[in-house]
Amino acid sequence: MAANDVAVLGVGMHPWGKWGRNFVEYGVAAARDALRDAGIDWSEVQFVSGADTMRNGYPGYVSGATFAQALGWTGARVASSYAACASGVTALEAARTRILAGLCDVALVVGADTTPKGFLAPNSGDRPTDPDWLRFRLLGATNPTYFALAARRRMDLYGATSEDFAKVKVKNAANGLANPYARYQKAYTVEEVLGSPMVADPLHLFEICATSDGGAAVVLTSMEYAARHAGSAGAPVRVAAVSTVTPTYPNTIIDLPDMATDSTAVVAVGERTFKESIAHAAYEEAGIGPEDLSLAEVYDLSTALELDWYEDIGLCKRGEAERLLNDGDTQLGGRIPVNASGGLACFGEAVPAQAIAQVCEVTWQLRGQATGRQVDGATAGITANQGLFGHGSSVLLRR
């Protein structure tokens, strides 16, 4: 056990779907599940860390307090974090650091969302200084536009094919069949994926993640508290590292929501791209490397982006992801299963809940509780994710 470990004592989720109900309901259900899983009462929680949603009015901007009030005021300390898709891990990091600082022993991290149909679009009103408004207005650049730019690079640089991309969906869909929290529990064939409408060439509808309602929660505690609490239940899953890095200048890979990259005219390109630096920071902090992993949960906003992540988190060299996929290394039973949960392909994205859901899945895997999708003998797993405007997000969990 390392000095910076904290324990994941409990995890919980509300099933993903398009339920159209109040997001607080999903968060509270997930929180109660996590507390039950941890075997502790709500009144024992000393710190509530909420991951915010921007699409549900004021309660979403102050999610920590919203969830705390819904569970019943106890006087617990509170924080609310927003980091787009990375909000969940930013909230988790607030809880972890408070525990490691010795300021509390028990923290509850919660994220939940209710999402509208269709493309995620900016809030209404003219905001010509907001890059997220400008990219829609000036370019018509949606989120799939950026996913497709990345996909096309893989094709033209590394020879990736549409079939390769479709196989990612087929793999994740098969994994999600056994996940009771997944929104889509349906198998797909390569032909079905490639037969779905083209959205942003080369990406088809079934290759781009939907937006979903859902909620996820984690109970984090100090290792000392976990040891006292768990008794003979055995060693808990531990958070060995959290990465919330930002890019370094010059950030040269075009990404949401920007219309241009930084310049390489004066400062040379760094050793790692932003996405490569995300997991790297987690490995450095935990003192382990990609070779030590049993599984990974990565942010498959599109099929092709999952392949980028294989390289970004160090599972293979640049340009080798298609081979890894086609060799079966990343499927269940392979060398390093990726998105055993089914990934975003089966969940759709519930923004503030998604990074927490990744932690829930890795925790279940490390405990041997991922029925129907279990990675045998899993001892270490990583989550990887990236939030709009430069939020890295990665959590390394060990048994």
């Binding site: 493309f119 829609f136 207005r137």
Partner: protein, 152 residues
């Protein structure tokens, strides 16, 4: 007959030369470290090793190469404004400008499909209609494949 007023699209004022026969993007160059910034360096030099606050406005290269590309088969949501009666798919490219070390996105001119594009394809900057509202034409920069026989 009505006269149409041409204006740069809202938010992109001063980002490009709207009326130049050889249009260019207008970037900023830090007078301290020399790095380029596009669209604007509103808050000082983005190079963390530089404390520069002063910039020269510079015309960026009118020619570049395609870094990557895609298209928009479905109508993007507002604040995008559909320029035609019904949505017609258009291409979007991210274009590498070698001298400035920048990648800048833009729509491709109408009529270009993804089949016309590849990573590395030379393109040039043009100014074209984003949408027309009454008698006001809102213009924006777009990329256009360099035609055979050179940049003319």
């Amino acid at each position: 007959m009505t006269t149409t007023t041409r204006v740069p699209a809202l938010g992109a004022e001063g980002w490009f030369t709207p009326d130049d026969p050889e249009p260019a993007l207008l970037g900023m160059r830090c007078t301290t470290c020399g790095t380029y910034v596009f669209p604007k360096a509103d808050f000082g030099c983005p190079n963390p090793a530089c404390v520069g606050l002063a910039f020269d406005e510079v015309r960026l290269s009118r020619f570049g190469t395609v870094w990557s590309y895609t298209d928009a088969r479905y109508q993007p949501p507002a604040p995008y404004v559909v320029p035609t009666e019904e949505h017609e798919p258009f291409c979007i490219a991210a274009v590498h400008l070698a001298d400035e070390g920048l990648v800048v996105m833009g729509q491709m001119v109408p009529g270009v499909t993804v089949d016309d594009l590849r990573v590395g394809l030379p393109v040039e900057l043009v100014v074209d209609t984003l949408f027309t509202e009454g008698e006001v034409e809102h213009v924006i920069w777009k990329w256009k494949p360099v035609t055979e026989g050179g940049a003319d």
